[in-house]
Amino acid sequence: MPDLLIELLSEEIPARMQRRAAEDLKSLVTNGLVEAGLTYAGAAAFSTPRRLALSVEGLTASSPDTREERKGPRVGAPDKAVEGFARGAGVEVSALEKRDAGKGEVYFAVIAHKGRPADAIVAEVLERAIRDFPWPKSMRWGTGDLRWVRPLHGILCILTDEAGPRIVPMEIGGLAAGAGTIGHRFMGNEAFSVSSFEDYEAKLKRAHVILRPEERAETIQHDAQTRAFAQGLELVEDRGLLDEVSGLVEWPVVLMGEIGEEFLHLPPEVLQTSMKEHQKFFSVKDRQGRISRFVTVANIDTPDDGATILAGNGRVLAARLADARFFWDNDLRKVKAGGMEALGEGLEAVTFQSQLGSQADRVGRIAALARSIAPQVGAEADEAEQAARIAKVDLRSEMVGEFPELQGLMGRYYAAEAGLPAAVAQAAEEHYRPLGPSDAVPEAPVSIAVALADKLDTLAGFWAIDEKPTGSKDPFALRRAALGVIRLVLANGLRLPLLPHLAYTGLRATEEGEVAAAHDAVVEAQQGTQAQPDAAADLLGFFHDRLKVHLKGEGLRHDVIDAAAAMPGSDDLWLLVARAQALAGVLKTDDGENLLQGFRRANNILTQAETQDGVEYAFGADRKFIEDPAETVLFDALDAAQPKIDEAMGREDFAGAMAAMAGLRGPIDGFFEAVQVNSENQILRRNRLNLLSRIRTLCLSVADLTRLEG
């Protein structure tokens, strides 16, 4: 049972692609081996910035001999056909077997396939894996045609068994497989050959390469923590950064440096962003929680213990932070001199979208909207409007110009510096949220009002100019905006009918004189494109679709949501979900399931009769035409259920209403068992149809059961 070792040595592979690539190498090779008839005991893949490696243990030495049987023409078919069949199968005509396949004798060819040695299979499979490798982006180099993520320099491919290692003979793009590799670019650049995976990993380490990414990550984590701890400091954990950095080095060397005193007053997020995004530094906090040091990870041991490297990194960081401080000071100067208005100057010159006006126009609309939403979410109207007016101001700040990822956050800092209420400053930061499905939802009333206004304005605006998401295209992230609204409403239990806010607010803002001439163009454009009055209804439908996607995770079926969405007040998403949850709950019960069957039967009979007779049976049934006791029971049950359901619905107690509805199951079943609705007697028939109509009306007052599937 030989072991297989493969290494593909290249120029530096982008850190973000390494782990995936190692897994791809593993699956491409092992799948290929198995398809070719080999089996193996275990496989593991590894990556460093310059290499992908794969170790396959306990590979079978060759694929098994196999026999293939092929059915051919019937015996007595023309010679040409028989000869052709034999030739195709690669056997002599005389070797064909005759067998009775039920409808007379037929020729069979039995083809023996000899097993092939693992060496040949590995060579084939590896070549195919290299040629078909699913790099996100690949390239050519020199004069060759081979594609790889960066130039490929070496292929190590050996099979090792009791007799020792042997090279698997293969060649691709002018590179022949061998048994050797090289170590670290600067600390182990001599070639060496290896005899097994253990030998490979050990020799790499001697040549200053740690093969396993998780080992490199652990080393970095451990050394960084130790260094911080030794100074009484604490490392700020960052898993994503750790993964990235461990893909940038083959030999991690952790160095800790100081951040100049003159930068420590900058907001910690500014320090952290600047260090992480541009320099891939970790942050280190002191006892007061202030970021005071950085940790950088070098790829080399130096005779001066990293002093030169640390000094260089410190200078690069100082230059970056000097920029950041320059921006911060300039922004603050403006805020202190003229408040947020001064900082936001020029927002009217920033186009939000050509048909929807500038950022200033948008701010006007959001402010009006936030004001009208405020009372419904428990926020102070003036505060909500004020927050909306300053929420986008930081887009004009120099800091956000340099670090766009700090938008919102800088708004909070500047609003606080301008002396605005804490809730207003907080809203400046939080109004973009939730950004993704895992991002926290704002809970403060002012933040909620502005966050809703921001998203609703975006959606209504793009709907008004007919720029809706299609298929995979959603350039304005409208799905995310709708999901944000849904999560804001549900997480905060908001009772907020959306329809009044789904009409494009640009028009309203103009009426209120909030926004000046810039809007005329927008309004004209809107009238020009005949913005349909049902744009709002269409947008509500979009919300319902997003809601289905969102609630799928909670196991709510889409047709249950349809049944709830078809009811009045479906723009109140909280109400809609409460109704859908109650419906899903009752459908899980035996009574509920059977009631649904009864409802369907009633509805079918009734619909058929109404179509046929061209009338609607909604006059109310009369007890005096009762013939069967089952009818009395149903009458009684309906009379008793009606007030219960009405009362529960009045309290929005959907579970109660549905339980009362499910209670009708017995009487309805009994009625259908005992009574023939379509009686010969037209008076009885009409009365029974009117009784069915009561069932339908009552059930439909709870949810539109006709929307349910199955």
């Binding site: 850190a15 320099h153 080399i300 130096t302 260089g312 230059a319 050509s354």
Partner: protein, 312 residues
Amino acid sequence: MTGKPRSFQDIILALQAYWARQGCAVLQPYDMEVGAGTFHPATTLRSLGPNPWAAAYVQPSRRPTDGRYGDSPNRLQHYYQFQVLIKPSPPDLQALYLGSLEAIGIDMALHDIRFVEDDWESPTLGAWGLGWEVWCDGMEVSQFTYFQQVGGHDCRPVSGELTYGLERLAMYVLGMDHVMEMPFNDPQTPMPLTYGDVFRQAEREYARWNFDVADTPTLLRHFEDAEAECARILEQPATDPRTGRQIVMAQPAYDQCIKASHLFNLLDARGVISVTERQAYIGRVRALAKACADAFLLTEAGGGAPEAAAAS
């Protein structure tokens, strides 16, 4: 140069000497305003077609929007790039590049050199490639790119391109914090000059002109003139009526493309190009670049067969 470089020009001289030793033709800057060394025809045009090429040169580069009146420690509207282009890219290009860092006094045993993913794309040139930005102790000192496409044409063979941002690299090697304080020539000479002595005045003047004074109607007209002239040059029949020879005028046309590109940058600095117009302008320059690339491939230098092209 012997020993560690002491001035900006020492670094330029060392790089030129090093790449000359590696067999590159050391060219001089192209005599037109460009945004980056890549625009030099020795890179854009010569990276096309099958003929081998190896050149190194300094290229003054202009980025009008980066002007800071000479105040910024590291931003300039006029700066220098050192550019190397080798076709086909040699297998040891990374090692050759590291050798150039040693040649300017960066000791590989003391510094942390890293190749960090950075894909290069030039929408105005219709070009892209894969490679890295090279970090020295956390500082980006070069761009390293394997050209995959230029002017919309696949590069076959592939060229390797190295671009050194000279001021930044020199500041790092010389330990300077402000570009204007960096010694331009040997600080021990009787007449030592700093970078600021040479460029501060010009930076101020150009910043003012770029941002506030350049006449935008004139720039717009020049843009359109360059565009039209480029098309007119390329429309000419390949056969020159005067000499009867096949002369496709790829480079004169490309000059007009370079002009249009720089005029676009100036208009951008004047703030008169909106976000939507921006894409349209870039598209117009790219169309010129592609037409010039097509033409270059018909020339002898571009590996074309002028006779066959004329016959078709």
